[in-house]
C-alpha cells in the first residue's frame, strides 16, 4: 500500500513536516510512514593518533576502541530518535491520523530515504536538517541531494505550517513544468484548490499563449488565474506566494545536471530558498 513518507530529525522543521504529512495523508487517504534516521558519529576520523605505531593485536585493539567510541554516542542518538518519533506520532494522532508507521533506521540519510521511498506516494522533508545552524534563506545540502536523487515527488516543509489553501504553479513552458502541471491536475492532493499559474518572462504573445494553453489543461474544474510578468523567476514567484495566504508552490525539479548547476546556479534551489511556503517538487 502506498503511503506518505515523512522524514523527521531534531530540527525545528519536524513539527511542520508532521502537520504537512497529516494534511497530505488526509487528502490522499493513505497511511504515514514516519522515518527517522540515526546517523552514526564516525569515530575513525576523530582520533588524533598519528603515531603510526602498531603493537600487539593492533587490529582487535583498534576495533574495540572504535566500537567503544561510537557505541555511547550511537546509544544517545537512538534514545533521542525514539523520543522524536514518539513526539511526532503524538502530534499526528492529535491531527486525527490513525495509520502511522514509525520507522527508526541506522544509516545515511540520503541512502535510507531513497531506500524507503519505494512505496511512497510523496516524500516530505524539512527545508533544513538538524545539523544546519540556522542561516536565513539557506537550504540544507541534504534536502538538495534528496530532491536530486529521489524519483518521487518531494514536498519540502517550511518552518511554519499553514494549511495549504491554494496552489501556485511555477511555469516556464519546459517539459518539467508540463509534467508538474499534469501531476497537479491528477493528484487528489489538490482537488478543489484554486491554482495560480505564474510565469516569468517578457510579456509577449508567445508566452501568453503558452500560459493560456497551460490554464486550459486544467479544464475549468478549478479556479485558475494566471500571471505573466517580466523579472527574475525566484523574485516574482516568492512575491506571488507571499501575497497568497495558504499557498503551496508546485514546480518541476532540477532541469539541469549538477555540473551545469555548479556553474550557472539553479532556479530550483533559489526558489526553495526564498519561498516561505511548502514547495512540492515534481520529477
Amino acid at each position: 500500500m502506498e503511503h506518505v513518507l515523512a522524514c523527521i530529525d531534531a530540527s525545528v522543521y519536524s513539527d511542520s513536516v508532521c502537520d504537512l504529512s497529516a494534511w497530505a495523508a488526509h487528502k490522499l487517504d493513505i497511511p504515514i510512514e514516519l522515518l527517522h534516521v540515526v546517523q552514526r558519529h564516525e569515530a575513525v576520523s576523530e582520533r588524533h593518533d598519528l603515531s603510526g605505531a602498531i603493537g600487539l593485536g593492533a587490529k582487535s585493539v583498534l576495533l574495540e576502541e572504535l566500537t567503544k567510541l561510537e557505541e555511547a554516542d550511537s546509544r544517545l542518538q537512538v534514545e533521542r530518535g525514539r523520543a522524536l518519533l514518539a513526539v511526532a506520532t503524538e502530534r499526528l494522532k492529535a491531527a486525527g491520523i490513525t495509520r502511522i508507521d514509525p520507522l527508526h533506521r541506522h544509516g545515511g540519510i540520503i541512502e535510507t530515504i531513497l531506500e524507503r521511498e519505494e512505496g511512497a506516494r510523496v516524500v516530505i522533508i524539512g527545508k533544513r536538517g538538524a545539523d544546519h545552524a540556522f542561516a536565513a534563506d539557506h537550504i540544507g545540502s541534504m534536502v538538495e541531494r534528496v530532491v536530486r536523487a529521489s524519483t518521487k515527488p518531494v514536498l519540502i516543509a517550511s518552518r511554519h505550517y499553514n494549511e495549504p489553501q491554494s496552489v501556485v504553479l511555477a511555469y516556464d513552458g519546459s517539459k518539467h513544468a508540463d509534467h508538474a502541471l499534469e501531476r497537479l491536475r491528477l493528484s487528489a492532493l489538490f482537488t478543489g484548490m484554486p491554482v495560480h499559474i505564474v510565469m516569468a518572462g517578457s510579456i509577449d504573445g508567445k508566452h501568453r499563449a503558452m500560459l493560456d494553453k497551460a490554464a486550459a489543461r486544467l479544464d475549468g474544474s478549478v479556479a485558475v488565474t494566471t500571471t505573466l510578468q517580466q523579472g527574475k523567476p525566484e523574485k516574482l514567484i516568492s512575491d506571488v506566494v507571499a501575497a497568497t495566504p495558504g499557498a503551496l508552490l508546485v514546480m518541476g525539479a532540477y532541469g539541469h545536471s549538477p555540473f551545469r548547476t555548479l556553474i550557472v546556479g539553479s532556479t530550483t534551489t533559489a526558489m526553495i530558498r526564498t519561498v516561505h511556503a511548502p514547495v512540492l517538487l515534481v520529477r
Binding site: 575513525v44 576520523s45 593518533d49 605505531a53
Partner: protein, 494 residues
C-alpha cells in the same frame, strides 16, 4: 559509477584526517618498500616505485576505500628465485602478467571463493605473514656487530615509547630519523640502505621489460604470476574484510580484484614489483584517521615526493632502523589473540591454523598454506557433519519384515556408516528403508544406497524404499542404477 555523491563519500568525507593519515602511511611505507625490495633481492627503487604506483592506481580503481596497497612481503618472498635465476626484467614481466590474471579473476568473480576460506585459515595466513616478515629480517640480525642489536633495540624503544609522550608525530619516522642522525654524526660503521642497491632519483618512467617475447618466457613467468596473483588477491580480500570491520562500511570485492589487477599491470611497466593490500599499513591508516580513497592517494603521492626529493638522505638510513620498523609491522600483524585462543577453540580449528602457518613458513608460499588450510577445514567439516547420521530399525510382528529408518546427512564420508547400519545376514522377506528424514548429497551416497539394495536382493529379500525426499529423489533419478534397465527385477515402490 562516478557521481557527485560517491566523490563526496569516497574522497571528500573528511579531507583533513585523510591527508594526515595518508602522510603517516607514506612515511611507514618507505621502510617497508625498501625492506621488501631487499627481501626480493632487487634494488630499493623497484619496491619504492611499485608502492607509489600501486597506491595511487588502487585509490582510483580499487573497491575498498581506505585500504592501503603497495609492494608487500607476501609477494616479495615469492619472487626471489625468479630474480636470482633470470633477472629483474622477468619480475616486471611476471608482474604485468599477474595483473592480467587478477583482472580475469575479477571478471570470474573468484572473490566468491573467499567464502570457503575459514576464519582459522585467515588467522593462520596473517600469523604466517607476520612470521615471514620477521624471518626476512634475520639476515640483517645474524653475523653483525653487537652495535646493530643496540640500534635495533633503540629503534624499537622509540617506536613503542614515543606514542606515550606524543601522538602527533609518527614514531617509526622519529626512530628512523634519530638513528640515522646518530649513525651519520658519530660515524658508526653499520650497513645503510645505500649499501643495498640503487635508490631512485627521478620519476618512474614507462618501460617494456627486456625479456624475449617467447613461449619459453611465458613458461618461466606464468607459474610465478599465478601464485603472485593468488597470494595478492588473498591478502587483498582479507585486508578488505579487516578494513570493512574497522570502519563498519561495505566494499566492492569484485571491483577490488580488478583494481589490484590494473594496478599491478601498470606497475610492471613502470619498473615496479607486484604488490597487494597491506594489513599492517591499512590498520595504521585507519588508526591515523584515514577512511577514504583520498588517504590512499595521498600516501602514494607523498611517497613519490619523499623518494624523489629525499633520495640521497634515504641512502643514509641504517638498516638497523628499518629492521626495527619491520619488527613493529611483524608484531602488529601477528594475531596474538590466536595463541591464547588455541586452548578455547575446537582442536580442529587450531590444527587448521597451525598447519596453515607451518606450511607457509616452510614453503614461503602463502597460497600453498591457504590451500592446505582450506582442504583441511573441509575435511574436518565433513567429519563433523557425517556424525549427523542415524539409523534405527524395527522388526514387524511376524518377524518377516524389517524397517530401517535412516535420518541425517548421507554423503561420501558417511557412506561406510550407512552400509554398516544394515544387517544383511538376517533372513527376511521384505526390507523397508525409510529415508524420509535423510538427505542424499552426492553420488557416493546414491551408490551406497544402490549397493545396499542390490545386496539385499541377492539374498532374495524384497526392498522397498519410502520417503525419498525431493532433493534425494532428483539425485537418485539422475545417478542410481538399481531402477534402470539392466538391473534385475523391479523394486518395490518404484
Amino acid at each position: 559509477m562516478f557521481s557527485i555523491a560517491t566523490l563526496r563519500r569516497e574522497w571528500l568525507a573528511n579531507p583533513r584526517a585523510d591527508i594526515l593519515a595518508g602522510i603517516v602511511v607514506a612515511l611507514a611505507l618507505i621502510p617497508e618498500a625498501i625492506g621488501f625490495s631487499i627481501i626480493a633481492g632487487v634494488d630499493p627503487r623497484v619496491g619504492l616505485y611499485a608502492s607509489f604506483s600501486i597506491a595511487v592506481i588502487i585509490s582510483l580503481v580499487g573497491g575498498r576505500p581506505g585500504m592501503i596497497s603497495a609492494a608487500t612481503a607476501a609477494i616479495a618472498v615469492l619472487v626471489l628465485p625468479l630474480i636470482q635465476q633470470h633477472g629483474v626484467d622477468y619480475l616486471f614481466a611476471a608482474t604485468i602478467l599477474m595483473g592480467i590474471v587478477q583482472v580475469i579473476a575479477g571478471f570470474l568473480r573468484l572473490n566468491l571463493l573467499m567464502q570457503y576460506v575459514s576464519r582459522s585459515v585467515i588467522t593462520g595466513f596473517v600469523n604466517a605473514l607476520a612470521i615471514l616478515i620477521f624471518i626476512a629480517q634475520l639476515p640483517e640480525l645474524t653475523g653483525v656487530p653487537m652495535l646493530t642489536y643496540v640500534l635495533v633495540a633503540a629503534g624499537l624503544g622509540v617506536i613503542y615509547l614515543l606514542p606515550r609522550l606524543t601522538k602527533a608525530v609518527p614514531s617509526p619516522l622519529v626512530a628512523i630519523v634519530v638513528l640515522t642522525v646518530i649513525v651519520y654524526y658519530v660515524g658508526l660503521d653499520v650497513r645503510t640502505v645505500g649499501d643495498m642497491g640503487e635508490l631512485p632519483s627521478s620519476l618512474p618512467a614507462f618501460l617494456i621489460p627486456n625479456v624475449p617475447f617467447t613461449l619459453e618466457t611465458l613458461q618461466i613467468i606464468l607459474p610465478y604470476s599465478l601464485t603472485m596473483a593468488a597470494v595478492g588477491l588473498l591478502e587483498s580480500m582479507m585486508t578488505a574484510q579487516i578494513v570493512d570491520d574497522l570502519t563498519d562500511t561495505g566494499s566492492d570485492k569484485q571491483r577490488e580484484m580488478k583494481g589490484q589487477g590494473i594496478a599491478n599491470f601498470a606497475t610492471g611497466f613502470l619498473g615496479g614489483m607486484g604488490g597487494c593490500a597491506m594489513i599492517g599499513q591499512s590498520v595504521i591508516n585507519v588508526k591515523s584517521g584515514g577512511s577514504t580513497r583520498l588517504s590512499t592517494f595521498v600516501a602514494g603521492m607523498f611517497l613519490l615526493f619523499l623518494i624523489v626529493v629525499l633520495g640521497p638522505l634515504v641512502a643514509q638510513i641504517p638498516m638497523a632502523a628499518l629492521v626495527a620498523v619491520m619488527i613493529m609491522v611483524s608484531i602488529g600483524t601477528f594475531s596474538w589473540r590466536s595463541i591464547k585462543d588455541i586452548r578455547h577453540h575446537p582442536w580442529q580449528s587450531s590444527v587448521v591454523m597451525i598447519v596453515t602457518v607451518v606450511i607457509v613458513v616452510w614453503t614461503h608460499d602463502l597460497a600453498q598454506g591457504v590451500l592446505a588450510g582450506v582442504i583441511l577445514s573441509g575435511l574436518f567439516f565433513a567429519s563433523k557433519v557425517k556424525r549427523l547420521f542415524t539409523v534405527d530399525s524395527s522388526l514387524s510382528a511376524d518377524g518377516n519384515t524389517r524397517t530401517y529408518k535412516v535420518g541425517g546427512q548421507v554423503f561420501f564420508a558417511s557412506s561406510d556408516a550407512f552400509v554398516a547400519a544394515f544387517d544383511f545376514k538376517e533372513v527376511l522377506d521384505t526390507v523397508i528403508i525409510d529415508v524420509s528424514a535423510a538427505h542424499f548429497w552426492d553420488i557416493s551416497a546414491v551408490g551406497t544406497l544402490d549397493k545396499a539394495i542390490l545386496k539385499f536382493r541377492r539374498d532374495g529379500t524384497k526392498v522397498e524404499i519410502i520417503g525419498l525426499n525431493e532433493a534425494s529423489a532428483t539425485l537418485v533419478d539422475r545417478y542410481a542404477v538399481h531402477d534402470k534397465p539392466g538391473a534385475e527385477a523391479q523394486l518395490g515402490g518404484h
